[in-house]
């Protein structure tokens, strides 16, 4: 199965810009389904980005983050070819991770 994580990390000068998209319903817990029943909250809680043995970004998300959530940030360091690891965990305990190469 394809990964739930898409990541684009591009090094330019001494900075690496990271953009990611994660496939997740991010159900808020306030929406009803076709039968009129509330869809319980189901959302990612923590996303972590690691480079060179160091956490470079941690996102803590509530149910107000959009479906298939997007994220963009930049960190100093990171060269073309370096590994960038992304991992997430949601409120039901599901998780996924991916290691991408910086471009």
């Amino acid at each position: 199965m394809a990964s739930t994580i898409r990541v684009r990390a591009i090094a330019s000068g001494d900075t690496t810009e990271v953009q990611s998209l994660i496939q997740h319903p991010m159900d808020s817990g306030f929406v009803k389904d076709a039968k009129g029943e509330v869809i319980p909250p189901h959302h990612i809680e923590v996303v972590q980005f690691e480079h060179g043995g160091k956490t470079v970004f941690t996102a803590l998300w509530g149910p107000a983050v959009s479906k298939d959530p997007y994220l963009k940030f930049s960190f100093k360091g990171g060269k073309k070819g370096d590994d960038l690891k992304v991992s997430w965990v949601d409120n039901k305990g599901a998780s996924d991770s991916l290691t991408a190469k910086i471009q």
Binding site: A59, L60, P63, A64, S95
Partner: protein, 164 residues
């Protein structure tokens, strides 16, 4: 103790932890007896902060203090959201020693939308997409040198992002 000082929900956390551990084995983590770094861990999630219904309570729970307005916090949000389900929001700051960024959507059922931990070497900037139930003030909060600074902008929402 997580660094936001939020009190986690013990029982729930244990269940999540074991689920996460199971997930790691499933991902083939067993081949790394000494993993270099841990994966995203649900115990880092400040559950209480995400339950608050006002700006003051959310910030107090998350950071233990309140914020003052600053023009060094830049909040880029649309004046009129094309759809409340997906509103692009970008925050940047020129403040020094930024350690955290938080986004609050005041009219949502729960105020805190997202919080970011910014370690040294990472820029004080984050962009994401948020749901907004109705027209609302959005507050960007930046933690710098142990203090909180904020910028506020109103986003008009004509098609709400929580109605399905």
């Amino acid at each position: 103790m997580n660094e936001f000082g939020g009190v986690p929900d013990r029982g729930r956390r244990i269940i999540l932890k074991s689920a996460v551990a199971g997930g790691l084995v499933g991902l083939g983590f067993g081949s790394f007896p000494f993993p270099a770094f841990a994966n995203a861990d649900a115990k880092d999630w400040p559950a209480d902060a995400f339950k608050q219904k006002s700006e003051a309570d959310a910030l107090k729970t998350l950071y233990g203090k309140s914020a003052e307005a600053s023009d060094k916090v830049n909040l880029d949000a649309p004046e009129i959201a094309e759809n409340g389900a997906v509103v692009p929001i970008a925050i940047t700051s020129t403040l020094p020693n930024v350690t955290g960024i938080a986004i609050l959507v005041l009219e949502n059922p729960f105020t805190l939308a997202a919080a970011y931990k910014i370690p040294e070497g990472t820029q004080a900037a984050a962009a994401s997409r948020l749901k907004m139930a109705k027209t609302t003030k959005v507050v960007a909060v930046v933690e710098s040198g142990g203090k909180l600074y904020s910028a506020t902008k109103e986003v008009k929402v004509t098609v709400g992002g929580c109605g399905g």
